[in-house]
């Protein structure tokens, strides 16, 4: 039984928007050229591939459903739990839950426990229920077993990759490229895809037998948590912009074009919002929401829906604090544009103001919008972590890098230290933000007329 959470709905809306934009960009000659020059840069091409991979995981993780009960009763045929397609795909990662902490690739627990050995009670490290459970003599066999699995996983990844390369290569040869256009950095794209496929292959071979990034306090697989956090990060980075864009574009262009009292009111609005330190405004709004939610706790069907609503609200608040920058940029640009001859000509022909805005002004400021959207993404992903640390981010029950770091803070002071939760969130967050930053650079270079 499929379920569409609110954030899922907005994500699909966003995807539809991206699809529409792609069609428009493909049809318009200069947009196609600009995007081509983004991908022509090596770093641009690599980032597009990596971010596409992250986005893919986020999308798979956004298709939710209630699983069918194994023994359906009269009253219910489906479980109350909400799973995503991604949960099903990663299978053992989600279901193989240990009792408590265990290190990456461990075969025994991280904590000493009292256990029974040959009738006597001794303190020691018990074997894990799943991690390395298939090994007879873990201390000798483990290294070899891991090596075999890594090699076979990488080989499978490479096999899929070769098939893909042959397929794409065949398609490309059939359609000879025009000679005057610079070629795309196919080697870099292929190398990135190979690296990603090999990693997926290795991970797929290993997850059933080991916990690659160990387990957390309640024994959940850390790799699973950090992969689930991708959806939260991507959603915050994209939905926030999706929510703020209509306001920023409408108000910014109107303020610049109509001037007069419209401009005064809009300027007053964004100066006021901008004057409040962002974190405090977010804190104030989230605190209010918190009180509201605890006062109306019975309105929410499940914890997941409640967490989801909080995530959406967080996006809205972040959007509220971040639209002002774009609005000001657009206002300034439109102030310049409205003096241009072609706008003056449209005015002289008696074209109504709103139509001038839509047909003549808007297309000429879209590059600013695009650059801002891409630039903001990485900042928003980073902001989520900080906000969750301060308890004004996403719901504590939701998987997010901020929540992982938050709990890792106490783990770092344990003896011996539990570092893998922090390491996992660091690696994934760093990769996402780094490639988002690199893409933002490439997009700015391609679209900003001042840079060229």
């Amino acid at each position: 039984m499929w379920v569409v959470l609110l954030t899922d709905f907005f994500l699909f809306l966003l995807l539809a928007g991206i699809g529409l934009y792609s069609v428009l960009a493909y049809r318009s000659e200069h947009l196609r050229a600009a995007w081509r020059s983004v991908i022509m840069r090596r770093m641009g091409a690599v980032s597009v591939v990596v971010l596409g991979f992250f986005m893919g995981i986020a999308i798979l993780d956004s298709v939710h459903f209630h699983p069918r009960l194994e023994q359906p009763t009269e009253r219910a045929t489906h479980s109350n739990e909400i799973l995503s397609v991604f949960d099903v795909l990663v299978g053992p990662m989600r279901t193989q839950v240990e009792r408590t902490y265990s290190a990456p690739f461990a075969w025994r627990s991280h904590n000493k426990e009292a256990m029974e050995v040959e009738g006597q009670v001794v303190r020691g490290y018990p074997r894990l229920e799943y991690g390395g459970a298939h090994l007879q003599d873990p201390e000798r066999e483990r290294a070899g077993d891991i090596a075999v699995r890594v090699l076979s996983g990488a080989a499978q990844g490479a096999l899929v990759w070769s098939a893909l390369v042959l397929l794409v290569g065949g398609l490309r040869r059939r359609r000879a490229p025009p000679p005057d256009v610079a070629p795309l950095p196919w080697r870099w794209i292929a190398a990135t895809v190979l690296a990603l496929l090999a990693l997926i292959g290795v991970a797929a071979e290993l997850v059933g037998a080991y916990h690659i990034f160990g387990t957390d306090k309640v024994g959940e697989d850390v790799l699973y948590q950090t992969l689930k956090s991708i959806r939260t990060g991507v959603l915050i980075g994209t939905l926030t912009t999706l929510i703020m864009l209509p306001f920023a574009i409408a108000l910014g262009t109107m303020a610049g074009y109509f001037r007069g009292w419209v401009d005064d009111v809009i300027q007053y609005l964004y100066t006021t919002l901008n004057s409040i330190p962002g974190v405090l405004l977010i804190a104030a709004a989230i605190l209010s929401l918190h009180v509201y939610m605890s006062a109306h706790a019975e309105d929410y069907a499940s914890l997941a829906e409640r967490a989801d609503l909080r995530l959406l609200f967080l996006c809205m608040i972040l959007g509220l604090t971040s639209w002002t920058g774009l609005c000001r940029l657009l206002r300034g640009e439109v102030l310049k544009l409205r003096e241009q001859d072609y706008i003056q000509a449209a005015v002289a022909f008696g074209v109504p103001g709103m139509r001038i805005l839509w047909r003549h002004v808007l297309p000429n400021v879209m590059h600013i919008v695009l650059i801002t959207v891409v630039l903001d993404f990485s900042g928003l992903v980073l902001a989520e972590a900080v906000l969750s640390y301060v308890d004004i981010g996403v719901d504590p029950s939701m998987n997010s890098w901020g929540n992982m770091i938050n709990s890792a803070r106490l783990e770092m002071s344990r003896e011996p230290v539990v570092w893998w939760s922090l390491a996992a969130s660091f690696v994934f967050m760093f990769v996402l933000v780094l490639f988002a930053n690199l893409l933002a650079d490439a997009v700015r270079d391609a679209f900003d007329p001042r840079v060229q």
């Binding site: 901008n274 004057s275 330190p277 804190a283 104030a284 006062a295 230290v417 660091f426 650079d441």
Partner: protein, 325 residues
């Protein structure tokens, strides 16, 4: 100039009123004081008398905007809006929900915040300008490209990792400084070294990259070409001409931050248990103490507007071509 400053100060009043109305709406209209009281007192087992007593102690028993029971001007002054919001304009912050005087707390906690923020800002400024100037000097070389890539990588790491990593490495493994805490007088120094260091390192990525762009923008201008054509050495051009002119946007960018230094750094202070205004705010948020959050929002707004005003004035001081009118 004086007229300009006065006009800007007057312009700040409607903004402050707007901010005030917004926070008032967020805290009292979205959630009634009744709900806030119940949240603070705990769960469902609270009697109505306890809620009333809680509200009465903190002055939340008054009506929101208009008091029909009072006489004359008190119809407006004996309300939550007047006692909680309007009095902020006189910097009378009142008491927090736990009964402490907020104004007193702020005056006390401002100093540790400044002790952390001012050295971080100055050191960061010095280091970033030096690094950016170096990259600009070797522009186009492998050093420059590598430096920029490194900057982007540094920018892509969350502040939380810098802090946790720094605390673990310097504080726990090397045991060079205490992990967290604070002391009065010069004893505070050993607690401040690590947070200052981390703040500076955290700022390197974005700061250096931004300053490098400013330098490169300046280098491509005509007067630089003229200077080179005269036969001046590259070092002389960079230090005497480019640096001086690029410092204008750098310094004015710093000026807007100056007043906000009082507010402290939220994350760093709370990680290192420095009793400044940043950790004050965080504690208030986590204890859901709305009075403190409201006071800090107001203070932050005033300081931000002050920063903007100072920026405008510093423009005229640094660049005689700019006139305020």
């Amino acid at each position: 100039m004086t007229a300009y400053i006065i006009r800007r100060a007057l312009y700040a009043i409607p903004i402050l009123i707007g901010v005030n109305l917004l926070t008032f709406a967020l805290f009292f209209v979205v959630n009634s004081p009744e709900e806030v009281a119940r949240l603070h007192l705990g769960d469902k087992q609270v009697t109505q008398e306890q809620v009333e007593a809680w509200k009465y102690e903190r002055g939340y028993h008054l009506p929101l905007m208009y008091n029909g029971e009072a006489e004359g001007a008190e119809q407006f002054t004996e309300t939550i809006f007047y006692t909680k919001s309007v009095r902020l304009f006189a910097f009378d912050f009142g008491n927090s929900d736990s009964g402490r005087n907020i104004g007193h707390d702020i005056r006390q906690r401002m100093w540790p915040s400044l002790a952390l923020a001012v050295p971080s800002l100055l050191l960061g400024l010095l280091l970033n300008t030096t690094l950016a100037l170096m990259l600009a000097f070797f522009r186009g070389s492998y050093l420059d490209v590598g430096g920029v890539v490194l900057c982007v990588a540094l920018m892509s790491v969350s502040a939380l990792f810098y802090i946790i990593g720094g605390q673990y490495l310097v504080g726990k493994l090397l045991q060079m400084v205490p992990i967290s805490g604070y002391d009065t007088g010069f004893e505070a120094l050993k607690f401040l070294v690590l947070p200052i260091l981390i703040s500076v390192v955290y700022g390197i990525g974005s700061g250096t990259r931004w300053y490098r762009t400013l330098f490169l923008e300046e280098i491509s201008k005509d007067y630089v070409r003229t200077a080179r054509a005269k036969g001046l050495s590259e070092q002389w051009v960079l230090f005497r001409h480019v640096l001086r002119n690029a410092l204008i946007p750098i310094l004015t960018g710093v000026v807007v931050l100056l007043p906000l230094l009082f507010m402290g750094s939220l994350i760093t202070e709370s990680f290192f248990a420095i009793p400044g205004l940043g950790s004050y705010t965080i504690d208030a948020i986590q204890r859901q103490d709305f009075s403190i959050v409201r006071a800090m929002v107001f203070l932050g707004t005033v300081l931000y507007i002050l920063g903007l005003l100072l920026t405008d004035i510093s423009y005229t001081l640094a660049d005689p071509r700019v006139r305020l009118n």
